[in-house]
Amino acid sequence: MTDQSAYNFAYLDEQTKRMIRRAILKGVAIPGYQVPFASREMPMPYGWGTGGVQVTAACLVPEDRLKVIDQGADDTTNAVSIRRFFQRTAGVAVTEATEEATVIQTRHRIPETPLTEGQILVYQVPIPEPLRFLEPRETETRKMHELEDYGLMHVKLYEDISRHGQIATAYDYPVKVEGRYVMDPSPIPKFDNPKLVGNAAIQLFGAGREQRIYALPPYSEAISLDFEDYPFAASKADHACDLCAAPDSYLDEVITDDQGSRMFVCSDTDFCASRRKAGHVGPMGTPMAGG
C-alpha cells in the first residue's frame, strides 16, 4: 500500500459500510437471525476472517481501540495481519488488553476477562448455518428456521451420544437464542458457550463467504441445546495453566519435544500474561516483571 489517501477510513467505502450497518442493526433487532448482506471482496482469502473484517470495518470509528485475537492469541498470523490491516487503513489505536479494547475481533474464542458494556465483540464465522451438515439445501434450512423446525439439531446430538457415549460436539455447539432462532456460535469451544449468555458486550458474527451477519445483543439468552439425561457441560482440559496456574481458563495443549512432553497453557494470551504480571506462576513458568 503506497498511497494511503486513496483508501477510505477502514478500507470499505461508506456505502458498503452503510449496507453492513443496516444488516448489523437488523441482526441485533432479531437476535440469532442470519441476515444476508452483500459481502465484498476483501484483500485476504476467504476463511481468514473476511466476514469479521467487514463487520469490524463497519463498526470502527477513529476513537476506537482495536484488539484482534486468533484462537485466543494476539500474536498469531491471522491476528497480527488483521490488526495491521486496520492500523494501516483506519489508523486506529490497537491494544492487546481485553479491558482496554472497544472493538475486539476474534476467531474461535471469547476472551477470559469478562467484557463490559460498550465493547463490541466481532466473530469470524466460517459456516453460519447450524443446520448445514444435517440439511444441505439452503432453501430447506431457511424454511426450517422460519418454522422453528429444529428437531434435526437434536438428531445430531443423539448421534453423538449413540456413537461416543456423550455429546462429543466440542466446538460450534448450537445455542437457541431468546427462545427462537438456533444459532451457530462460530467455532468457539463449548467452554465459551456460557460466556455468550447475558454478556454485556454486543456480539456480532460475520460470515464473508456465506454472506451472513447475525448478532447477540447485550444480555441475551442463549441456551446450549442438550438432553435432559445428558445435560450440556462446558468442558476444558483437566489441568491448570502451566505458565500462570489459572485453574479455570481454556487451555491449549502444546507438545514441547519429540519425546511427547507437553504443557497446557491458556489459549487467551492476554489473560495469561496479565496473570503472570500479577505474580501467578505455574509449574513451568518463570515470574514476569510486574507491570
Binding site: K143, E146, L147, G151, L152, V155, Y158, E228, D229
Partner: protein, 265 residues
C-alpha cells in the same frame, strides 16, 4: 352409549377430498378427485404409470399445492382444509398425525444418521428431550418392524433394501400417526421380502387402527391391505368401491384390463 360414540366417530371422515385437481401447465396431473377416508380404513389407489396417482398422493400429503379443491383433515381441533393451512401447521401435522412412506427408502431416511437417530427424529421434532427414552422407543420400534436391537447404531446404508423399508416404516409410525401415506411401499423389493413387509404392514395397520392411503400398481398389495380401491387413469378416477368388488367384478374397461393383466402363477 359407548357404541354410539364409536359410531359417531366412525361417521366422521378422517380425510375428505373434494374436487381436487392439479395441472402441470396444460397437462392434467389429476382432476376432480372426490373421496372420504374414515378412521381405520385403508384406501388403495391403483393405476398405470402416469395415471396421476403419485400426484394425487403428493397433493394430499401437502408436498404439492393443488390448483383446485379441498383436502379436509379431521385435526384434533376439528376439520381443517390442509390446502389453506399455514405451512407451519401443515408441517406439524406431517410430523405428528401424518406419516409418509416413500417408495425409495433413501428418500425417506437420513442415510448418514443411525437407525436409532432416524426413528428418534420425529420424537425429537415434537419435543422429546430425554435421550434414554428416545432410544428406548427407537429400540422398541425396531423390534416391531423385525430389526434386531443391536442394529440400532448402524446406518441405513448398512441395511438391505427390505430392512431400509421397514426402518422407514418404523421412523414414520413412532409418533403414532393417524393417517399414513404410502407411495409404492413394496416397490423394488423381491417377492418374499414383499410378502413379509405386507404381513408386517397389515399387522401394524390393524393393531394401531391406522388409516392409510396406499398408492401402488401391484394389485396383490391392495388385495391384501386395502378396504377400498380407487382406480385412476389419465388423471381421473375411473372406478372406486370395495376392493374385492372392484377386483372381482371390474366395471370400467381399464379396470378390466388391469385385472386381467395380472399374471397368475
Amino acid at each position: 352409549m359407548d357404541t354410539s360414540i364409536w359410531a359417531k366417530m366412525k361417521t366422521q371422515p378422517l380425510l375428505s377430498v373434494r374436487d381436487l385437481s392439479k395441472f402441470y401447465g396444460g397437462r392434467i396431473g389429476c382432476a376432480d378427485v372426490n373421496f372420504d377416508l374414515f378412521p381405520g380404513e385403508v384406501l388403495g389407489i391403483v393405476g398405470e404409470s402416469g395415471s396421476g396417482k403419485s400426484t394425487l398422493l403428493s397433493c394430499l400429503a401437502g408436498h404439492l399445492a393443488p390448483d383446485r379443491g379441498e383436502v379436509i383433515f379431521a385435526t384434533t381441533e376439528g376439520p381443517r382444509d390442509t390446502v389453506l393451512m399455514a405451512e407451519a401447521a401443515r408441517r406439524r401435522l406431517a410430523r405428528t398425525d401424518w406419516a409418509y412412506v416413500h417408495q425409495n427408502p433413501r428418500d425417506g431416511l437420513r442415510m448418514g444418521v443411525s437407525a436409532g437417530g432416524n426413528v428418534g427424529e420425529r420424537l425429537m421434532a415434537v419435543g422429546a428431550r430425554h435421550y434414554g427414552q428416545i432410544r428406548e422407543a427407537a429400540v422398541d420400534w425396531l423390534g416391531r418392524v423385525e430389526i434386531a436391537a443391536d442394529r440400532v447404531d448402524d446406518r441405513p446404508n448398512a441395511f438391505s433394501g427390505g430392512m431400509q423399508q421397514r426402518l422407514q416404516i418404523a421412523r414414520n409410525l413412532v409418533t403414532g400417526p393417524r393417517l399414513v401415506f404410502m407411495d409404492e411401499p413394496t416397490g423394488g423389493l423381491d417377492v418374499s421380502v414383499q410378502a413379509r413387509l405386507l404381513d408386517l404392514l397389515r399387522g401394524l395397520v390393524r393393531e394401531m387402527g391406522l388409516s392409510a392411503i396406499i398408492v401402488t400398481h401391484d394389485l396383490a398389495v391392495v388385495r391384501l391391505l386395502a378396504d377400498r380401491l380407487m382406480v385412476m387413469k389419465g388423471g381421473y378416477v375411473v372406478e372406486q368401491g370395495l376392493t374385492d368388488q372392484v377386483l372381482d367384478d371390474p366395471q370400467h374397461e381399464y379396470t378390466q384390463l388391469l385385472v386381467s393383466s395380472v399374471l397368475q402363477v
